[in-house]
């Protein structure tokens, strides 16, 4: 151990990819037992740097020192030998295997020729108890929640004797409650003497969790500061490189006529339970109607029902007086609904199409994009050029595959496409998931702009901050129906939390419409 107590030292790390310098002579130091946040926007080079530390990439220049020893990490197995573990953003688990099997995979305790499952279960149990990571070793991965799967990933690193644990965007996939639990787990690990690096672009978590923050922007270290000596605003500025507006400016506005009316919708779920169990609400022109709730309470199904992507068993959907119950997605779209879907990779984009082709994804059939069955590529490209400029989609060109764009720019492209259709109703589901501050600010502004132009906006989000920042009214969805409405001007997390947990009794002003 060297005198500074640093377990990891990265000195002058440079990594170039064709066309960009992902890391530009980066210096980074991790002390024993500290929680060090690596903060930066999407594409700033955080993940590249950590992949270098984990041996997945080789740096073009620079040195890596582990425990005061200069080392070359030429693969993940070398990194694991050095006591480095990584919890990836996208879990690498074998779905049909049990928790214990996944954890010991590649390093199984043996009994003769066979795996000693009993011993494996025991070992897993003892580690999980020691660090307070509650899991059932005999459950199958496919049957446990995302938060639980993440614990399995953490246990995997601990089982392999990790002293340094890297978390890559660990909260991106978690619910509010799961995030709280994760933060506790990470604190426990640090208290046990593990050194933690957490890659993130969420300021709240940085403030709540870390001891030290290193801010990276465009491949360079901008600053390394003690968390106790900084604040969210300063970090945001360091990260984005300019002053950031947290609060979208939004004036009070009188809502207009009812645009969308949803009446007593019922839809069968995947199991025997009803996914929608009598959902009713209305959205008016010029207002943002927010729907809060824990993931999996029928929000996705509600949107599928309105947009025609799944059939309902009963109930009614009307748009501006027109009956759209169980209409096809195309007729819903042409009736004046823009839909920013929850999963931009699954629904929002064809990733192997060019950006330009994606811009006409739900309007390609219209005569302005070609008559007599042929596509007018010129008209398509003109539209794409226009939208790319207007919505500041950063891309190397409109013929680039959508796959090559960063998440924020993909989302901007979708929003551009949907708003450009000039719909009466905009449905935005988790519109800022996985986006960095700059992009979030942009998306929020566009949604408020649309509202100010008199469009009706239906917003579904799991982020309370977002709901409060944007909505004119907030309703809570629980087990397939709206269980109450709360005041959007006066923030009351406790009341909202109770409603989200299905506790309607104490929400005295939470009457249904």
């Amino acid at each position: 151990m060297n005198q500074s107590g640093a377990v990891v030292q990265l000195k002058g790390i440079t990594k170039r990819f064709p066309g960009l310098v992902a890391n530009d002579s980066i210096n980074f130091e991790l002390k024993k037992g500290e929680i060090h946040a690596l903060l930066g926007e999407n594409g700033a080079g955080k993940s590249t740097l950590m992949n270098i530390l984990f041996g997945l990439y080789q740096p073009d220049e620079g040195e890596i020192w582990i425990n005061g020893q200069k080392t070359v990490i030429d693969g993940a197995s070398k990194a694991i030998d050095l006591g480095i573990g990584m919890v990836h953003q996208h879990f690498k688990l074998v779905q049909p295997f049990t928790v214990a099997e996944n954890i010991v995979l590649g390093n199984e305790p043996k009994k003769g020729m066979t795996v000693d499952y009993k011993l494996a279960n025991q070992k897993v149990k003892s580690i999980s108890e020691r660090y307070g990571l509650k899991v059932d070793p005999q459950m199958r991965i496919q049957d446990i929640t995302v938060g639980m799967q993440q614990r399995v990933e953490i246990l995997k690193t601990l089982y392999r004797g990790a002293e340094i644990v890297i978390f890559d965007e660990p909260t991106a996939v978690l619910t509010v409650q799961e995030i709280e639990e994760l933060l506790t787990i990470i604190r426990n690990l640090a208290a046990e003497g593990k050194s933690i690096i957490i890659i993130t672009h969420k300021l709240k978590e940085v403030m709540a969790l870390s001891d030290t923050v290193t801010v990276i922007r465009r491949g360079k270290v901008i600053s390394t500061v003690k968390t106790s000596e900084t604040n969210e605003r300063q970090l945001a500025e360091l990260m984005v490189g300019r002053d950031v507006n947290f609060k979208v400016e939004k004036t009070k506005r009188q809502a207009g006529e009812v645009v969308l009316s949803v009446d007593n919708l019922r839809m069968k779920g995947d199991q025997s339970k009803m996914a929608l169990d009598g959902t009713s609400f209305q959205v008016r022109a010029g207002e943002i109607f927010g729907i809060a709730g824990v993931d999996g309470n029928g929000q996705s199904e509600l949107i599928y029902a309105i947009t025609g992507m799944r059939k309902v068993q009963s109930g009614k959907v009307t748009l501006g007086g027109r009956d759209l119950t169980n209409a096809t997605p195309r007729s819903v779209s042409t009736a004046g609904v823009g839909h920013i879907p929850e999963d931009r990779h699954k629904h929002g984009l064809v990733l192997d199409f060019s950006l330009s082709e994606n811009m006409i994804l739900n309007t390609y059939f219209k005569p302005e994009y070609g008559k007599s069955g042929f596509i007018d590529y010129k008209a398509m490209d003109e539209l794409a050029d226009k939208l790319v400029k207007e919505y500041d989609v950063r891309t190397s060109g409109i013929h680039t595959h959508a796959r090559a764009l960063s998440g924020g720019n993909q989302q901007k492209a979708i929003i551009a496409r949907e708003i450009n259709k000039d719909p009466d109703l905009i449905i935005a589901v988790q519109p800022t998931r996985g986006l960095d501050i700059g992009a979030i600010e942009f998306v929020h502004k566009r949604l408020v702009d649309a509202r100010n132009e008199g469009k009706a906006v239906l917003l579904v989000s799991f982020e309370l901050d977002e709901l409060y920042a944007l909505s004119d009214r907030i309703a809570v969805m629980y087990e397939g129906k709206l269980v109450g409405e709360v005041d959007a001007d006066e923030r009351n997390d406790e009341q909202l939390g109770l409603l989200m947990a299905g506790n309607t009794g104490s929400a005295d002003n939470g009457g249904r419409e």
């Binding site: 064809v350 390609y364 070609g370």
Partner: protein, 356 residues
């Protein structure tokens, strides 16, 4: 023509290196067997381009592979694995034979009608697979393989029952008015069996491109192929697109069968086993990276090698099994393009540095 350029750049280098590697492995195999690879390859090329007759017959061998290669590639572009091209090819043959033998019409109706009916037979046979997938969720690989056998025995039954030339194991000859051979070209090429199918095949290469990349229908087909969820979101009818895609694919396959009957043999035999063009089409589509030009080049390579194999055994005494090894290793290297990319990577990097 940016797209064309892109097609060439991305999918040409790897196949070319694969071919070279395949030829080298083939040479090693021949060397190990005590044959002279140089003499063998020389006689292969002599056979393929040595005389007008052989050149013509090589083209004859290439033509059905263009059709079946396009059929496989087309379905693949829509995310479907049409392994039933073999059966659709046979149905195309049968449709053409039925019209060609049973009807008696003036040439300007008879030929085109036989072609259209044969193509429709192929298209509907494949459409059935698409329908089963769209409506009932039956995996297209399973149903189309099963339908290959159904097609083979159905075709044999139709020939035996309705079209049989007495005393022979084949149908009556197709009427002169429906035949598609090009007499002056046959004469020019020393009696090689030249027919209009070759030109139709090349037209199909162009149609393939236009249909997929220029039309709205093609836009839908590709969207469904890449991401059916996004296609649903965009308001496309995913199920009907699957049926359409299989139908188009089957038309290409059917046309291949049509011209084997109308252009080459003039009749249909009772087959003990399928002709195999459909399965070779999978290899051709793979060789060509599922692009139209790639399929054309793949068919030329595959057909040329197959036909030229006769020359190798004739000229250098190499058994045709060895030629199968060469073809097999070419396919292997194309399929395992990761290996080829790995092998050429150092060379590519060097080239880039020199250019820089």
């Amino acid at each position: 023509m940016d797209t064309l350029k892109k097609i060439f750049n991305t999918s040409l280098i790897v196949p070319v290196v694969s071919i070279l590697l395949g030829l080298i492995i083939g040479a090693i195999a021949m060397f190990a067997g005590g044959y002279n690879p140089l003499v063998a390859y020389q006689s292969l090329f002599e056979r393929v381009i040595g005389s007008p007759y052989h050149m013509g017959e090589t083209i004859r061998a290439i033509t059905p592979l263009i059709f079946t290669g396009l059929a496989v590639a087309f379905a693949f572009r829509t995310g479907l694995f049409n392994i039933g091209v073999e059966g659709q090819f046979i149905m195309g043959m049968t449709g053409a034979t039925l019209v060609g033998v049973l009807l008696d019409l003036p040439w300007y109706i008879h030929g085109p009608l036989a072609i259209v009916v044969g193509a429709l037979f192929g298209g509907l046979w494949a459409g059935l697979v698409g329908y089963l997938k769209a409506k009932r969720g039956v995996n297209e690989v399973i149903s189309s393989i099963m339908l290959n056998w159904t097609a083979l025995y159905l075709a044999n039954y139709i020939v035996a029952k309705f079209l049989l030339e007495p005393g022979q194991q084949k149908s009556k000859p197709v009427h002169e008015s429906a035949l598609m051979s090009i007499d002056w070209l046959v004469e020019l090429m020393d009696k090689a069996r030249m027919h209009w199918g070759t030109f139709v095949a090349i037209a199909c290469v162009v149609i393939f491109y236009i249909l997929l990349w220029r039309t709205k229908q093609g836009y839908e087909l590709r969207a469904v192929g890449h991401n059916p969820d996004a296609a649903l979101y965009a308001g496309m009818n995913v199920n009907s697109t699957i049926v359409k895609s299989m139908f188009f694919s089957g038309i290409f396959a059917g046309l291949g069968g049509v011209f084997e009957v109308l252009g080459v043999f003039g009749n249909q035999t009772i087959m003990a086993a399928s002709p195999g063009y459909g399965f070779d089409g999978i290899a051709v589509a793979l060789l060509g990276g599922n692009t139209p030009i790639g399929v054309l080049l793949g068919a030329i390579l595959f057909g040329g090698l197959s036909y030229g194999s006769g020359g190798m055994s004739f000229g250098a005494g190499v058994p045709s099994e060895i030629v199968r090894i060469v073809i097999g290793s070419v396919i292997f290297f194309v399929a395992a393009h990761g290996i080829v990319k790995f092998i050429i990577k150092p060379f590519m990097a060097k080239k880039k540095k020199e250019a820089a």
